[in-house]
């Protein structure tokens, strides 16, 4: 059970010590930046990444060379679709539903191409990444779309005892639900089984293709929910809001101890890795490091994590 939550057991310990290191470094270099305010900011930024990384984590876990490069494009496109629909008169109250449904639809499209047509996930989601993010830009001409219904804003920007409301009401429940489904239901075990060894999973009668379709759809749903949070938080739909999320979410998943080959790892590690990544980014921001560096550092981290992982596999 604990392995379902934490992945390979050293992962969580390593992540926590790294986190302490980062926070410690910040405390030494910028003592006055450590406050509950900073924590709220970190969690606020972490919410979107957490949801997207959850979807990405499921896709990688279910194997079959699973990867979803389209997550960032999906987040941007859902935000744009939602705002354009609001402009054409769809009631604001329906906005959460619109976001979730359109995210689900984009994910289903990926899943259909991967699971039914059996095209390599990397090439499918690379193409849909360009289609989704291109559509988000083309439909808006690159301009941010205003008109987020007022009732969403207090939820998007509010916090309870320093914990942002979206984090409390969406990110945490999503991770808990995923942990329970993965750890305690037969469908969750199927995901691990098909990720670990697809052939034997098929032989014992697990509906691999249908489960994979659902996993990609769930990743789209997570992107849709992340998009809703971005709308409620920023108060507008930005056509480039999902930029670099494919890189950051994949880094979080790898850092969280999920094996790129699927079938090994857990959601708990991904959660910890998201917090570590966002803390690191906030740390760099506090030190006035050019924000462009962030994408470079995340890229280097992704490669570093995989190299360490491969080297440790060789040793075993």
């Amino acid at each position: 059970m604990s392995s379902r939550l934490g992945g390979r057991s050293p992962t969580l310990i390593i992540l926590c010590s790294l986190w302490v290191l980062v926070v410690g470094g910040l405390a030494v270099l910028r003592p006055n930046s450590i406050s509950t305010g900073t924590m709220t900011t970190v969690l606020q930024f972490a919410t979107i990444l957490a949801l997207v990384a959850l979807g990405q984590g499921l896709v990688v876990l279910c194997g079959g060379a699973g990867i979803d490069l389209s997550v960032g494009g999906a987040v941007s496109l859902v935000a744009v679709i939602a705002m354009l629909l609001t402009k054409t008169g769809v009631p604001g109250l329906l906005l959460p539903v619109v976001c979730c449904l359109s995210g689900l639809g984009l994910g289903l499209f990926n899943g259909w191409l991967v699971a039914k047509l059996r095209i390599l996930p990397l090439i499918v989601t690379l193409a849909t990444f360009y289609v989704y993010s291109g559509l988000a830009l083309a439909l808006t001409g690159g301009a941010a779309q205003s008109g987020v219904p007022a009732f969403l804003i207090p939820w998007g920007r509010g916090d309870l005892l320093g914990v942002p409301l979206p984090f409390l009401t969406l990110a945490i429940p999503a991770f808990l639900a995923a942990a329970i489904v993965l750890g305690a239901t037969s469908w969750g075990r199927w995901v691990y089984a098909m990720g670990f060894n697809e052939e034997s999973a098929r032989l014992v009668g697990i509906p691999v293709d249908r489960s994979r379709l659902i996993v990609y759809a769930l990743s789209g749903l997570c992107a849709g929910a992340a998009s809703l949070i971005s709308l409620a938080w920023l108060g507008s739909g930005r056509p480039n809001i999902g930029q670099n999320l494919e890189l950051t979410s994949l880094t979080a998943v790898m850092l969280g101890g999920v094996s790129i080959f699927g079938g090994r790892g857990g959601i708990g590690g991904v959660f910890a890795a998201v917090l570590l990544l966002v803390t690191l980014q906030t740390f760099l921001l506090q030190l006035n490091v050019n924000s462009i560096w962030q994408v470079g550092i995340v890229g280097a981290l992704l490669i570093g994590v995989l190299l360490v992982d491969r080297l440790s596999v060789t040793r075993r």
Partner: protein, 322 residues
């Protein structure tokens, strides 16, 4: 044995037909399309894509991929541009592109091949890293208004043919010869078909994979030289959709994304068709923002059509790493 310009197979004939159809349609739809000016622009726009596409053909044929090619070209272009601005000898400036590209290719090869990381994930990491490097080395400004010396040198005529044409033909011929006339080609395709089997039958898998990433890097660097010579500026967004364009053109040309099958002449046709489509759509009034949408959708349609026509049978999906 195959000739240097091989007889076209069915796929390539279809492509040539599609290209002809596209040319006719755009000719009918836009009076500006068939002007010498516009056709020259289309040909010029094909150059970098063709060079990068040749490398991508080898990578896909081997069952690998590199999505950082655009950024690698960008980094090399910055070096070329800076050397050009610093009044270096144009011949040295011209080879600085492939040198930088080759070094970047070595770096990619070390990480992906020696580190045994799935190529897509490794090159995604590199993409982020290179993008940051491009922003930082440009310092928020474009390199623009670069001297014309490089352009003059590459468009100078050698025996009636511009130097640039000779260089591009030479690059194509070298890749063609490597594939058709040396063991490298069969080894490459064997790895693409089944890496484990290739290894067991004595192919130096690691060496071939390493070399292919370096070759692709060299070609990206050469593309950078041509980019700087043509546009005489380097902008922040350089190469941002080059990887998609290259993959779409190569897949359009009949090279399999699963590896084991490649067509260089198909890549040439794919590159020209893609650039003609992009140019023609722009002329009939489709805003340029739609370009990546159209290219991405085109890639998906070709892949789905290949599945429907049974060109790749339902395979179990898996990573290829070593």
């Amino acid at each position: 044995m195959m000739r240097a310009i091989p007889s076209l197979n069915g796929r390539e004939l279809t492509l040539a037909g599609a290209l002809l159809a596209a040319l006719l349609i755009f000719f009918a739809a836009s009076p500006y399309f068939a002007t010498a000016d516009n056709l020259a622009t289309v040909v010029r726009n094909c150059v970098e894509l063709l060079l990068v596409g040749l490398g991508m053909t080898l990578l896909l044929a081997m069952g690998a991929i590199d999505i950082s090619v655009g950024m690698a070209m960008g980094l090399a272009a910055i070096v070329v541009g800076r050397l050009l601005a610093a009044d270096m000898n144009p011949a040295l400036v011209a080879i600085s592109g492939p040198i930088v590209g080759g070094l970047l290719g070595l770096f990619t090869a070390t990480i992906v091949v020696i580190g045994r990381i799935p190529a897509i994930v490794g090159t995604l990491g590199l993409l982020g890293f290179y993008r940051a490097a491009i922003f930082l080395s440009l310092g928020g400004e474009w390199l623009s208004g670069l001297p014309t010396r490089l352009t003059t040198m590459l468009s100078a005529s050698a025996g009636g043919v511009p130097v640039s044409v000779i260089v591009i033909l030479a690059a194509y011929l070298v890749v063609w010869l490597a594939i058709r006339r040396t063991p490298y080609g069969p080894h490459l395709l064997a790895i693409g078909n089944d890496e484990e089997r290739a290894r067991l039958s004595g192919v130096a898998v690691t060496r071939v994979r390493f070399a292919t990433f370096v070759i692709s890097g060299l070609l990206c660097g050469l593309a950078a030289t041509f980019y700087v010579s043509t546009y005489r500026n380097v902008e922040m967004t350089i190469g941002s959709s080059l990887a998609l364009d290259a993959i779409a053109a190569v897949v359009l040309g009949g090279t399999s994304v699963l590896g084991g099958r490649c067509s260089l002449i198909g890549t040439v046709l794919g590159v020209v068709l893609l650039r003609v489509l992009q140019n023609g759509l722009l002329l009939i009034g489709v805003p340029s923002l739609w370009q990546t949408v159209v290219t991405g959708a085109l890639l998906l349609v070709i892949l789905a059509a290949e599945v429907a026509s049974g060109r790749f049978s339902l395979q179990s999906l898996r990573w290829r790493t070593y």
